[in-house]
Symmetry: C2
Subunit: 249 residues, 2 copies
């Protein structure tokens, strides 16, 4: 967060100089009762399309807060074209995974149902809130898209051309992730991690036969599903994604 | 966990064929009341020195369980010589960090007190239990050592010769982590992450002047301290550590 803006909030409105935006009730509550800001205070807004803007609090109403946009302070930047496909996990682990994937720059979060997925209902609202919070707190200019849960075989059946899928493969037979990334020239990517119990053997065989799938190994220790996802995303960004450039100042 | 052993437990005793080991009260409780195992069932034991052994439950007493060691099924392997230095974080985040660092193969966990560290007491017992559980559940053959918390400047003042310290540097001026790792030939390593508020400016300057410190950048987004640590450890293992080899079968 910059020195001047007291909060950084995600909104869905268009952002342009002079525009007025009405914040949501929780956002208004946060500014008024948690941060105790007064009209005139400066906040920062982003919407995933128009960069980041400073805005001045115009006034509080009962369930909202009106802010007037001042100026753009960061231009929108494209996100790395990276998806994460993950089987639903227990609550603390899936919340953690969504937070970390957002920080690590994933563009799209895709819950997938695998054979051994414990059929827990996914609370997309809650996951979405975690993604928004992670984006707000870590200076990201966008919030990842969150897809509806789908069976894994349906997702792979409709796989888009040109997107490579890194399959986190616990079997021990996959080549090391760094070696796979060094040799591939794809422009669009996805990482797939299985459920806590791992993929089924026939499921894994079917995945390995798909032309767009690259199985990757993540070392000699067995990793939990959430650890594998975060680790694979970090290695991807470091070797192939947007960590190869120094950070903007 | 292998097909035959019903549980995998960390003990501190020496492990050798025919030896008898008395398990702790919580371990005995777990085997008897959670897994409902009977005498004769097989468990696996490791102690960080003698590999992994199968053992047969000999009998339960009031507060313990006696097991007889059968055979070694995995030889001890050296851990990568990797330390993690981290400032204390809030409870959920530090628990998470210890779990993930254990899965990612860290040999030594060193809590360090930085200028902006919120002075929370560290519960070493609880962290140790998380590390043990992570090692048990992820087939690791050792549990990372957990050092007493120390001021960061005292840790750097007594720094061992030949160990390179990767400083996770949020300033935007550090070279990308992959570039730094590719160029360094050190044999012993450590990763340092700051507290939630980041390092102080003079603290960061002092760190950068140390000959054994390599500042590294982790991309364009601002990462939380726990995310930065896990990401840096994963990239280290993939590029320099033991993820470069395929996993044993």
């Amino acid at each position: 967060m910059s020195q001047s803006a007291k909060a950084r909030l995600y909104v869905t409105d268009d952002l342009a100089a002079g525009a007025s935006v009405l914040l949501s009730e929780p956002q208004a509550h946060y500014l008024k009762h948690v941060l105790r800001l007064e009209p005139g205070a400066t906040v920062a807004l982003f919407n995933g399309r128009h960069g980041e803007w400073t805005a001045r609090i115009d006034g509080f109403a009962k369930r909202t807060c009106a802010v007037i946009l001042a100026e753009q302070r960061r231009a929108q930047e494209p996100d790395p074209d990276l998806w994460l496909l993950f089987a639903p996990l227990k609550r603390a682990r899936i919340d953690f995974l969504v937070e970390k994937a957002t920080e690590l720059g994933v563009a799209r979060l895709c819950p997938v149902v695998t054979r051994r997925t414990v059929a827990e209902r996914i609370n997309l609202e809650r996951l979405r809130a975690h993604a928004v919070e992670a984006a707000e707190q870590t200076e990201r200019l966008s919030v990842p898209a969150l897809a509806e849960p789908k069976p894994l075989d349906r997702v792979t059946a409709g796989w888009p051309a040109g997107r490579r899928l890194l399959l986190c493969d616990e079997s021990g037979s996959a080549p090391p992730i760094a070696a796979v990334l060094r040799e591939s020239r794809a422009e669009a990517w996805a990482v797939l991690v299985g459920p806590e119990g791992g993929f089924g053997e026939t499921e894994l065989d079917a995945l390995r036969k798909l032309s767009f799938v690259s199985p990757v190994g993540l070392g000699p220790r067995v990793l939990r599903a959430d650890t594998a996802a975060v680790a694979a995303l970090a290695v991807f960004q470091a070797l192939t994604g947007d960590w190869r450039m120094p950070r903007r100042g």
